[in-house]
């Protein structure tokens, strides 16, 4: 039985002042004139709440690039949703944050690109670092909990310890150290971003020690580098199980990178009610349950734990979304992942558009 969704990832826009090469946004970014209007977003939010959504993540791109953000926050909040703002912090002044908090933002996730400004700006492709402190202060002044998110890769893994110190300085309640997941621009930059075995091994004791030292003050979450694990992640807790994503143009997706699966047709919130899309659309039903699975997943005991991993990763790397995620050591395509983690010479980044 399909349950109603708990969360909505609303990608309000793909526009962004940063150009992170690790960005998980699709390589084909939605342009401004294809973005939903304010009324269309309001309707998406209303329908999402009626469908069962209780938590809304306002993200992008950079959600602050939408001038109607305050209005959308008020609307989502008035529906009773818990509203998260996921931001690079550029443009998040104290005034703006106070207004957004008054309108109902309850938590902010702020990304940082590295520990020191020079490195961070190199990765962001713009002068981003100097805005982070002001953004963090604004969140704290508004009395909201702050999560700092740092995406880790070959170009900043050596700064893990310093990033933890930075999060502490910024007054974060939580720090998410997330190894790059290879979607969108990150997949394009995979060879340049792939952390080395030595980097991953070095990070482990640093994170462990920090957790102990900061227990109760700053919660440190470490998202594993899935290519270097033996089993895949339980991606999205299963396809079409708990969350849906609405892309800037209104495409309704089971996960933010689902459009890569070009054998599926995704529906649009401007053309069909959200509830119908969630319960009845072929795209949402494609990988629910276990009937779609092939071997080795079909007869594997872990299938109820990891759901065969990530459908997008299976599609991108093996050409068929029904295959096991090739991160899995049991996958006949696992060699593709083993090849991808082999050390290569340092490469330049292709910056996100």
């Amino acid at each position: 039985m399909t349950q109603p969704p708990l969360g909505l990832l609303a990608e309000l826009t793909h526009r962004c002042p940063l150009h992170c090469p690790y960005c998980s946004n699709p390589v084909e970014l939605v342009v401004r004139d294809r973005e939903l209007t304010t009324d269309q977003w309001r309707s998406v939010l209303t329908q999402a709440r009626e469908l069962g959504v209780l938590q809304v993540h306002l993200s992008g791109g950079e959600p602050l690039a939408r001038r109607d953000l305050p209005e959308l926050v008020s609307h989502a909040s008035s529906l009773g949703c818990y509203v998260n703002l996921v931001t690079s912090g550029l443009g998040l002044t104290e005034e703006r944050m106070a207004d957004l908090a008054a309108r109902g933002i309850e938590h902010v996730q702020l990304s940082v690109q590295a520990a020191d400004p020079a490195r961070a700006d190199l990765i962001a492709g713009t002068r981003a670092a100097k805005h982070k402190r002001a953004a963090a202060n604004a969140v704290r002044a508004a009395g909201l909990p702050l999560t700092v998110n740092a995406v880790l890769h070959r170009g900043n893994h050596d700064q893990v310890g310093a990033i933890i110190d930075l999060a502490e300085e910024l007054g974060a309640d939580r720090l998410e150290l997330a190894n790059t997941q290879f979607y969108g621009w990150a997949l394009r930059n995979r060879a340049a971003l792939m952390p080395t075995k030595a980097q991953l091994a070095a990070a482990e004791p640093i994170v462990r020690a920090a957790r102990r030292r900061l227990a109760g003050r700053l919660e440190v979450i470490y998202v594993l580098a899935d290519y270097q694990e033996s089993y895949p992640k339980p991606c999205m807790h299963g396809w079409g199980a708990r969350q849906l994503t609405v892309a800037p143009d209104g495409a309704v997706l089971p996960c933010p990178s689902a459009t890569v699966i070009n054998t599926l047709e995704f529906e649009n919130a401007t053309r069909r009610p959200l509830a119908e899309i969630w319960y009845e659309s072929p795209s949402f039903n494609a990988f629910r349950g276990e009937d779609w699975m092939r071997e080795p997943c079909r007869s594997c005991e872990r299938r109820s734990v990891d759901f065969g991993g990530c459908r997008c990763q299976a599609f991108m790397l093996t050409g068929a979304a029904e295959n096991a995620d090739p991160v899995c050591a049991l996958s006949p395509h696992h060699g593709l992942v083993e090849d991808a983690v082999q050390p290569v010479a340092e490469l330049p980044f292709v910056m996100r558009g």
């Binding site: 969360g7 209780l54 818990y82 938590h107 939580r174």
Partner: protein, 89 residues
């Protein structure tokens, strides 16, 4: 656990979902749909009541409340980031 007086973490709040007709707890990392006992446990996490006090509050409302069960539920909420963990008491 003796001194543990659990309270909701910053950014966490209890609510009622009219769609599911159940109590829920909303927090930065997610949402949990609650049954009435879990809700009653969270409602008594006011940062003042200690675990034994919470147990006795629950005993007045429900039959067969066991201290170990309450502690397990509380630790579960702490692990999910809903209430302050016990080491901070």
């Amino acid at each position: 656990m003796t001194g543990w007086a659990p309270r909701l973490r910053r950014g966490a709040r209890l609510g009622f979902d009219p769609v599911r007709r159940t109590p829920v707890v909303l927090f930065p990392e997610g949402v949990l749909v609650l049954n009435s006992t879990a809700e009653a446990v969270l409602r008594s996490c006011d940062g003042a009541a200690t675990v034994p006090e919470i147990v006795s509050v629950l005993e007045r409302r429900y039959a067969g409340v066991r201290a170990e069960d309450v502690l397990t539920v509380l630790r579960g909420f702490a692990a999910r980031g809903v209430i302050q963990p016990e080491e901070q008491a």
